[in-house]
Assembly symmetry: C3
Homo-oligomer: 362 residues x 3
């Protein structure tokens, strides 16, 4: 352990990531101020956001290593969605409420259908039928089911013209506070969970050299600050790029922003499945919807109303919510079923394709 | 066993309950005829109904002890909801169809979300993760799922403007008859179930002294008759009290009447969970929705049409039915998942709070 | 084995079936051209279609015996729904889009509620609680859940007025192609499954004499061709017969055509359950919805648009889709629950009765 610290502080993959993030950020900035074609600006800033998200994740891991496994979990929950949070805030500032709502639901759909499907497909083709039935996987899928149900109540109340309809800003705020309170309650449990799981599949951490704590904090601060700028440029390029590509706002949010914003976690999940760690992959993929439902969406609702941005409520369009309910129920069935095979994976991906297609026409 | 009969016929808790019921009934009656403030009348008659419900339950237990475990089950099914039945009939007589519908669905929601959540929270905090996976729990949750599905078909047919819409009184009657027939079919099985379970967790019955059979019958008759009067006063105070408290009719039915009407079972369920008997608590809590769906709701529909009260159909408001479907599916997932922890309990309670809030604005 | 070939090529049940099919076809044809009363023509042609469906099934079994278990699976998937396919095509040619849509969903509902309920009722009464928890049953029920979800997305998109609404013909075509692609992907797995299961419960095949391959091919060709004619007569008699019996178009499709079209598989399923082979019965019953969702419905959508028949889209009426979603979710819960008893069977049948009743008024 001591030897590792004396070796190079940043290993090769860290350096590649840092270099890529730096170059992409510079290009995205130049493109933004030089008013390059919108599609190019969109791709550059999208790539830069993804690279910065990876850097934030790496810094949090390094920091958390010092603070113990518990604190890492809390930090990751709090900062893991930082770039997505910035993108959504800037999009709200630009009045793109539809894009933000589609991106929030789209992230969950992409996780539960596309990424989970890819995990099952890759894992199933390489390793045959995969087991998922651990207590932890079940407990996570129940928590996901319950939090998503709470998240969709305001939408349901809206469409059925329940008497709550004229009060939906207040109602969304109340639900957001309840969801955040649930998240606060769940923190001790997830701290304990992470401590237990550390002894399990943590052997891969040993390959990573430890950064000095000042480097980790500095990297986090710089990457976070850069993410704020780049998110602004990304949102700025979004509307003209979608116009140029003739893509609807809902499709842009649901598919493009959602996949770009979760690229890292998604790749990690599929890699775990490819290595045969289907249980762990399942936990990683299901954790994201919980964080979106219990943290990202409520924080955005509160921020949008407190800071006077375009008002975000929890009233999503009916198609988004029905697709969400289908996806969540299917994921819960699959986790309780306790098994997955490649055909289920292919079917989940097909279902994602069907839903994405239904948003193609804007 | 013989010694117990020679001891005091009524033990201390019986006497306290009898005294409380008597005092509350007298006060509720005086309040009713002296036209005390509506909120006070509402609280007194609500308390009296709850105490009488407990007395009816106690009498049935004592009676059933003589008739064998099987007959107790049948009697409890038939008489357990007696006070609720009286309240609903008087409410229908006063034309409060919305209150009755909200109270029926609200009882199920309160059981499946609030009380189940409280059971999981209390049981989980005291005893850690709780197991639920017995055959009996699964079988009850499947029966609940199926009976609630049949119960909501008329509502669904109504909102989607299916051609059955103009015939919905007839359709509700047909569905009610089918539901009652299912209940009749399920009686032999539940008789057998109770006989088996008697040998299991019945040790607590030995603390209770046996009443002479005449006392049990007399107590049942008196408590039942009193419940009829007090229910009338309760319904009479309901509307003015809700006006005085500025609470909507739907909220009054969904939350206040529902919780008051099930207070006893709810306390019993949570007590069982606190003692670590999570399986038994789960059965008690899930049994109530089955009785509401298969007995109380159909009987009220038939009674309302046969006796010419305000017509009750099985067409509930969409928000009620969607909340019901969510709650039932979640409870089924949790029972099949086979485990519960305190965080799931907290999430169920949060979900109840979200749904109740959505009915706050009337 | 060799001795069996030397015995009578057609055993008694084959001869009875062949005779019945011949007589019914002749009577149906005479009735059609002699313009007998519509109800009589409807009954005769319906009986003839059922007998021909059985003959097609028998020929495929015999053929498949030569080609190996794998090919039988593929052939059965491809040809098992042949008579239903003919009926639906002729109905589309006559513009009876509503009948076809109701028949497609009705077949799935009849399988998942009525037939599954009858299996559980018969199996449960004869053999007590039945186990269903094999990997194969779970895997089939997951595939059914996923394919039905994809099937209903176009309907959902339509009613919530998603922007895809004006493009729903194209969208239905795209979804149909995706569903057929999934079916193609699932073929290798089902080939392998059938090979494995052959060694298991295949002992009943030995009672059947083997037909010469030319006889099997000829029988298939003749029965298939006859099915095409008889289906035409059946559809021709359908509308006047329903008018004479005062039955709505939706009810005719949902109940009458659906049950007639699946009569054989249904009887087989219930027989298997009666013999205590609940697992196998469950697989047979759940396989039918998968074939309707992944093959029959998509093929009909494509055929109707390519050959310019009355346009069939995947936009079903809301009541059909909601009933379908309820049925599929219930079947999935029951299969994951891993057990069935006669009361669950009775409840499923009751639920089917409730849904069918809601379509009675047309």
């Amino acid at each position: 352990m001591d030897d590792e610290v004396r070796e190079a502080v940043l290993n090769r993959s860290d350096l590649v990531l840092l270099g890529a993030a730096g170059i992409l950020c510079v290009l995205a900035g130049v493109g933004h101020y030089a008013e390059w074609p919108s599609v190019l600006r969109f791709l550059l800033s999208g790539g830069a956001v993804t690279a910065l998200a990876a850097l934030v994740g790496r810094s949090v891991e390094q920091l958390g290593d010092r603070l113990g496994a518990g604190a890492t979990g809390v930090l990751q929950s709090a900062l893991g969605n930082l770039p997505e949070l910035f993108i959504c805030i800037f999009a709200l500032k630009s009045g793109l409420v539809g894009v933000v709502q589609a991106a929030l639901i789209g992230s969950i759909l992409a996780n539960l259908l596309l990424v989970l499907g890819a995990c099952f497909l890759v894992g199933g083709l390489r390793h045959g039928t995969q087991k998922l039935g651990s207590e932890r996987a079940k407990s996570i899928s129940m928590l996901m089911l319950l939090s998503v149900t709470a998240l969709v109540i305001p939408s349901v109340a809206h469409w059925v013209h329940s008497p709550v309809e004229p009060h939906e800003k207040t109602f969304s705020l109340i639900v957001s506070v309840i969801l955040l309170a649930l998240f606060a309650l769940s923190l001790p449990a997830s701290l304990r969970r992470d401590e237990q799981s550390e002894s399990g599949p943590g052997q891969e951490d040993h390959e990573v050299p430890r950064w000095p704590i000042t480097l980790a904090v500095a990297m986090l601060a710089v990457a976070g600050a850069a993410a704020a700028f780049v998110s602004d440029w990304f949102v700025d390029a979004l509307t003209p790029a979608m116009d140029a590509l003739n893509v609807s706002e809902a499709f842009a949010g649901l598919v493009i922003v959602a996949i770009a914003g979760n690229a890292i976690e998604n790749v990690v999940g599929v890699q775990l499945a490819a290595r045969g760690q289907s249980e762990y992959a399942f936990s990683v993929v299901l954790n994201s919807p919980i964080q979106i439902g219990l943290v990202l969406a409520p924080v955005l609702v509160i921020v949008s109303q407190v800071f006077g941005l375009a008002t975000l409520t929890l009233v999503f369009s009916p198609m988004l919510v029905i697709a969400l309910i289908f996806a969540v129920v299917l994921a819960a069935f699959i986790s309780i079923d306790g098994e997955s095979n490649w055909l289920e994976g292919a079917t989940l991906i097909a279902l994602y394709a069907v839903i994405a297609t239904s948003f193609w026409w804007g």
